[in-house]
């Protein structure tokens, strides 16, 4: 009897917690569902009943009369640094925002780039409260999850109503920045703007090698071939060995990568850009890699590989490894962004102290065509919570930065920076941003990095245009120009070269979330593309393999993806 009771107790003992857990889990699910639907209703009511007149008067006044709290979750990139004793909630920028707008910036939590994706996903799947502002720079996937959670407000209308002219005109420079965040014609995230054409390629060539063979910078692909032939076969470094190539190019990650040691311009010279979606003549988007022009360009690369103009292991080299060929003095030409003059190219001087190099314009193809892939203008997003009572606070803040910090005019309160002694110094009546001038215990801190806009207000077109002006001999007068003029001369010149070919940049017009078939098939298509292209270049497959690839691409999902991508494009381009 005793035993039986014990057994019963034991059984109950097991059942109880299990039952309890089940009920708990179930009720949590219910509660969660209720909470979310409540939240949505509440949010809607508030937005519709929001006193817009009050918001506008705040924007006009430029300051809240009552303190307004702003809870923020932000991604900390590795370039955000603090002085000892300071952190994201305790620094001159937070003080400044309080004084200037009466906004209390409150960072609920921050996470670095490797952890934030997981944190956001956990937050969403646990259905927890979200902060007023999410400041994120990373994968489209996470942004999609945030938008699809339905907890963030539609920002398109808010932007129209509250954004200042300066902010609007910066955003209008490239309307496609909104595209990834449009759902049913409405915009759910504010794109963070970055400098345009930042990673677009220019052609860096060894000047000392050119001089040695008495060559001119190549205007066409044919002229570049002559140059590559000499660089590869006539011992430009004079060490008596045949150990140099013409062009440093990395093909491991594709024909069109993010910029360093890129092959994009070779394809551009034939009027096509592989690895991205370009507008066809009919206005529809078409995938670059399956266009017939690619075949011709691949044939050219194959020829160069045979002749030793490009490295035998180009197919094994990623961007960095390929650029190393140039910076170790083994290659005479490399296509790279304008900033490559500061890194990684200068290393070549350690190998050869007479080495010199400059940026030149990209060469034209047989039909006079020039092309390169255009780097994105948007880098990150800001999302505003539906339940945030003062969405105008963000616009008050961003408007001010775009008016006073993006391209500050003389006398602007943020002309030289946020705070003297932090991001600039006044020496002998003149501003300086030179880190070496700062005392060792109070190093220079880029306060722009503390802003909700990640790097402060950036006007996309401003950087390249300024570099071009400076290179053209314009004297640096505005603070922005003075700062830009601090860059290396090589980079400034390269920026001007970049700017002179700006019309040849080809943007990837498909920047939205992956479509249904894209998710399922893209890896296979992408893999067979890389495989086919590299095998053709290496001569493992005949050039006709390209036609087989195109047919296979179309039949195994490519056509469906093209349709889906165009459906998406039609749904967003009207915005």
């Amino acid at each position: 009897m005793k035993e039986a009771k014990g057994e019963l107790f034991l059984k109950q003992g097991w059942i109880k917690p299990v039952a309890l857990m089940t009920t708990l889990v179930l009720s949590m699910g219910f509660l969660g569902a209720c909470a979310s639907s409540n939240g949505e209703n509440k949010g809607k009511n508030e937005v519709s009943s929001n006193n817009q007149a009050a918001a506008k008067s705040v924007l006009e006044a430029g300051k809240f009369s009552e303190p307004v709290k702003m809870d923020i979750v932000r991604q900390m990139t590795s370039d955000v640094k603090f002085r000892t004793g300071e952190d994201i909630n305790n620094n001159p920028h937070v003080t400044w925002a309080k004084e200037a707008f009466n906004i209390d910036l409150n960072y609920v939590w921050t996470a670095d780039s490797s952890a934030i994706d997981t944190k956001i996903r956990l937050l969403l799947s646990a259905n927890e409260d979200l902060p007023d502002i999410v400041q994120y720079r990373g994968s489209q996937d996470v942004i999609d999850a945030l938008i699809d959670s339905g907890k963030f407000v539609e920002v398109g209308d808010l932007f129209e109503q509250y954004a200042s002219d300066a902010y609007k005109s910066a955003m209008a420079e490239d309307a496609s920045v909104w595209n990834p965040y449009v759902r049913d014609g409405k915009k759910y995230a504010l794109p963070i703007l970055d400098y345009a054409n930042n990673n677009d390629t220019v052609l860096w060539i060894r000047d000392d090698w050119m001089k040695k063979f008495n060559l001119q910078p190549p205007a066409t692909i044919a002229e570049m071939e002559t140059m590559m032939d000499m660089f590869a076969n006539q011992d430009p470094d004079g060490n008596g060995k045949k150990d140099t190539v013409g062009l440093a190019v990395g093909l491991k990650n594709g024909m069109n990568t993010w910029g360093l040691a890129d092959a994009d311009f070779i394809f551009g010279a034939y009027g096509v850009m592989p690895g991205q979606w370009n507008a066809g003549s009919d206005g529809k988007l078409a995938y670059g890699s399956v266009q017939p022009e690619v075949k011709t360009a691949l044939g050219k690369l194959k020829e160069w590989m045979e002749k030793g103009y490009i490295h035998k292991e180009a197919g094994l080299h990623d961007e960095g490894k390929a650029a190393e060929l140039f910076s170790s003095g083994k290659a005479g030409i490399v296509a790279a962004p304008y900033w490559a003059g500061g890194w990684p190219l200068p290393a070549v001087k350690e190998v050869d102290k007479n080495a010199d190099y400059s940026a030149y314009r990209l060469p034209a193809g047989p039909d006079g065509k020039i092309g390169r892939s255009q780097s994105g203008v948007s880098n990150g997003v800001v999302l505003i919570n539906k339940n945030y009572e003062h969405p105008e606070a963000f616009f008050l803040y961003a408007n001010y930065l775009y008016e006073n910090q993006g391209n500050p005019q003389a006398g602007s309160p943020l002309e030289y920076g946020f705070e003297e002694g932090y991001d600039y110094l006044i020496k002998d009546g003149k501003p300086t941003w030179d880190g070496a001038q700062f005392p060792a215990d109070q190093p220079i801190m880029n306060l722009g990095k503390y802003t909700i806009l990640f790097d402060g207000a950036r006007i996309p077109s401003l950087m390249m245009k300024t570099l071009s002006d400076l290179d053209g001999g314009k004297e640096a007068t505005s603070a922005f120009e003075m700062k830009a003029a601090m860059d290396m001369d090589k980079n400034i010149h390269a920026g001007a070269v970049n700017y002179s070919q700006i019309e040849f940049a080809m943007p990837n017009l498909y920047n939205g979330s992956p479509t249904k078939t894209y998710k399922k098939r893209w890896d296979f298509l992408n893999k067979s593309e890389k495989e086919t292209f590299n095998k053709i270049i290496y001569g493992d497959s005949p050039i006709e393999a390209f036609d087989t690839f195109v047919a296979q691409w179309k039949s195994s999902g490519g056509d469906t993806i093209t349709n889906e991508v165009n459906e998406w494009y039609d749904s967003v381009k009207s915005n």
Binding site: L122, N127, G315, F524, E531, Y538
Partner: protein, 304 residues
Amino acid sequence: MKQRVARRWNFKLTWPLHVMLVPGIVLVLIFAYLPMLGLVMAFQDFQPQLGFFRSEWIGFENFKLMFEYPDARQVIWNTLLIAVIKIVAHLIVPLIFALLLNEVRKMVFKRFVQTLVYLPHFLSWVILGGILLDMLSTDGGLVNQALGWFGIEPIFFLGNGDWFRFTVIFSDVWKDFGFSTIIFLAALSGINPDFYEAALIDGANRWQQMLKITLPSLIPITIVVGTLSLGNILNAGFDQIFNLYNPLVYEKGDIIDTYVYRVGLIGGDFGFGTAVGVFKSLVSFILIVISYRLAYKLANYRIF
């Protein structure tokens, strides 16, 4: 009845030991078993913002997708081939090496060699990948230069599919055989010296001693190592291949893990990634159970 009393008495005596087990069990429960609930993802169209409870239930769709992938057969075949050869090589090479090392008389030399071959185990594939790329280069790479002294044409180790497989297996064995050697050396030192003494008296030479005493004594440990490594039959080494492969060798070098990485992690399809993980674990589990049964039956060896 008597037994029961004994047991109770026993428990009274040993309860502190049981208590000491609790933290370990709790940790295992929290960090190993609780996360396994996440396996439901494999049967869902998992959306992080919806979580486990609200994501759509799609049954075996994810598993189907895995086999519908046009290259599935090739990827699975590559994985099996590379993994099986690696498993076999990882058994034979350390065994032979341990036997050879066992014959070395000078302790200093023996220790030195042992440490030397053990070292590469601590290098990560990210670093080794870069080193191998330079060492195996057809253009002035160390290995091809050495081959050149014998009049051999440079070999494109990382760009030719068959050579790629060879390179992957060879470099993996080179990296890790020192580690496995230690296990065999430990087993060797556990052999009763009386056996050798008796064999010596019977007039057995070293070769005969090795065949008749050393090798049979090593069979149990070999079976243990072999059985345990069978669980890796679908692990061809992600870190290694991910750091070494390139478009030229996809055909012979793309494995399940690299494929899952591209689709599951980069593409953000977590349900699919989990499905492949479940599939792999299931195969490994079945193989371990079978091989363990076999080991028990044939060699009468029990691990558990």
